[in-house]
Symmetry: C2
Subunit: 154 residues, 2 copies
DNA sequence: GTGGGTGCAAAGGATTTGCACCTCC
DNA sequence: GGAGGTGCAAATCCTTTGCACCCAC
């Protein structure tokens, strides 16, 4: 179920931090929101709203998909969730590491993984200088075939 | 109307090349398609489907939006148009330079511009090496405030 | 107690599709 | 002449919204 590189201790702390952040922002802590936070951090990495919803239902069966979207909106506004729009029709969400970072996407199986790129941090300021824009954030996404799909015959 | 850096001569040649490409791919050359090619290359840079449609209507008033989308699909399949999904709800299209390249996006006025970044070409192979993916294409997008919006008081 | 949160259902909006008619080659 | 393209309208699908009810603080 857990396919990201962040260990259990980190993820436990992350859920606490998100909970605290919500509370300190004047938001109420509801069972639905707790279930959503858990699904976001401890479920499969880069989940869709639908995938979060499926996990939440196991714990809180009357929760609605609309509530999932509303909570994601709240977390986005707090900067605690990054929304990944990869053109697949549905968006993915990253609350484990909400700071913009590069991703690789498998165009065959849809898998999404973080990728470390030397010098990626320099790109934003370089783009700022070259364009004259006051740049705040970025999206770095790479598309291709993952290792697993490379070795699997169709 | 023309806000990109590609000059008239280049754009005229580009329209010809697209027309030839369609013909050689077994596609028919219709007045609608010619109008769409012209709008894509000679209209404002990085247009939406709706913006292309508006330009096409001036020349070919009975054309439908569905035809615009279908032709864009055809050109995408040929690799002659790049689809930019910037999360604004509507997609933008680049047929002037269909090869993936970095863009800066103004979050205030929506302007999109090409930006040259030193060493951007190295990123794909670096991401390939770091991830083990067989990467084919990328998206490099930077978001912030354009020069014009910086100097304009709200 | 009360204002924010929830759940339902309906709306929204860009894009896609089905199909009868048309036209480019 | 016939396959491919067009135009209309309806369908799709993710996401958002309105509103009455509920519950965390």
């Amino acid at each position: 179920m857990v396919s990201n590189v962040f260990d259990l201790e980190y993820r436990t702390r992350r859920v606490s931090a998100l909970r605290t952040r919500l509370a300190e922002s004047g938001c109420r802590i509801t069972p639905q929101r707790l279930a959503i936070l858990d699904a976001l951090v401890n479920g499969a990495s880069h989940p869709t709203a639908e995938e979060i919803y499926a996990l939440v239902l196991k714990v809180s069966p009357t929760t609605s998909l609309a509530t999932v979207y509303k909570t994601l909106d709240t977390l986005k506004a707090l900067g605690e969730v990054q929304e990944l729009e990869l053109g697949s029709g549905r968006n993915h969400y990253d609350a484990v590491d909400p700071v913009a970072h590069p991703h690789v996407v498998c165009t065959q199986c849809g898998r999404i993984e973080d990728v470390r790129i030397e010098g990626a941090s320099r790109l934003l300021e370089e783009a700022s200088r070259a364009s004259g824009y006051q740049l705040l954030t970025e999206r770095l996404e790479f598309f291709g075939i993952c290792h697993s799909c490379q070795t699997t015959k169709n």
